[in-house]
Amino acid sequence: MAMLHLVNKSPYDAGNLATATAYMQGGDALLLIEDAIYAAIKAGKASAMLAGKNVSVLGPDLAARGIGEDKLVEGINVIDYAGFVDLVEANDKVQSWL
């Protein structure tokens, strides 16, 4: 029963990402949207929480915040809104860590 974990808060301002990653099980996916995209910056401290996880990040939210794809953790999937829908469809349920 794979689950999609959705996080929208900055990992430097809130504990949502820490909780989400702690609750992820094998086969689960993580999608970073809105202010959570800052977690994907490779040189940032919070990126350590993403190690070994299946992580996607919403491209339009990256662009809005001026964070180039070259700054991201390797192996992360940059997706658009259609890709967001695909992820929701590919998983049995969605847990939104608001």
Partner: protein
């Protein structure tokens, strides 16, 4: 400066777009600047994300207010403090931020940098030396 002039410090600690704080701060700063106070801005914690260059909001349907920061110099807002520890922790450097300048009319309109990269300890001193604090 008259005796009425106070040192106003605007402390910015939130990322842009996820919440309305960053934009609200900018609007208050611009209004306040019209009253000829001695204005400083500080960016710390997630506030440093407000100043990243290359923001493009077409894909999220929100107004891109980041070009407004480059207009601050025209409003005589020339002291923009950025805390180095906050940049480091988030994997950013000064090169990732907009190059903000102001023109010094006393020196034949020479362009000068508005951003002052400071340590947490240095910024604490600047805040302590301010008269009025606004938090966003």
């Amino acid at each position: 400066m008259s005796e009425e002039t106070k040192k106003f410090m605007y402390i910015n600690r939130k990322a842009p777009y996820g919440t309305i704080y960053a934009w609200e701060s900018l609007e208050v700063v611009l209004i306040g600047a019209a009253f000829e106070q001695d204005v400083s801005l500080a960016f710390m914690d997630d506030g440093v994300f407000q100043l990243t260059k290359g923001q493009s909001t077409a894909g999220i349907g929100m107004k891109n207010f980041s070009p407004t920061y480059s207009a601050l110099g025209d409003y005589e807002v020339t002291k923009i403090y950025v805390e180095k520890e906050s940049l480091d922790e988030r994997g950013l450097t000064l090169d990732d931020l907009q190059h903000l300048v102001w023109e010094d009319e006393d020196e034949d309109y020479a362009e000068k940098d508005s951003i002052r990269l400071v340590s947490r300890a240095e910024l604490a001193e600047v805040i302590a030396d301010s008269d009025v604090l606004f938090n966003f």
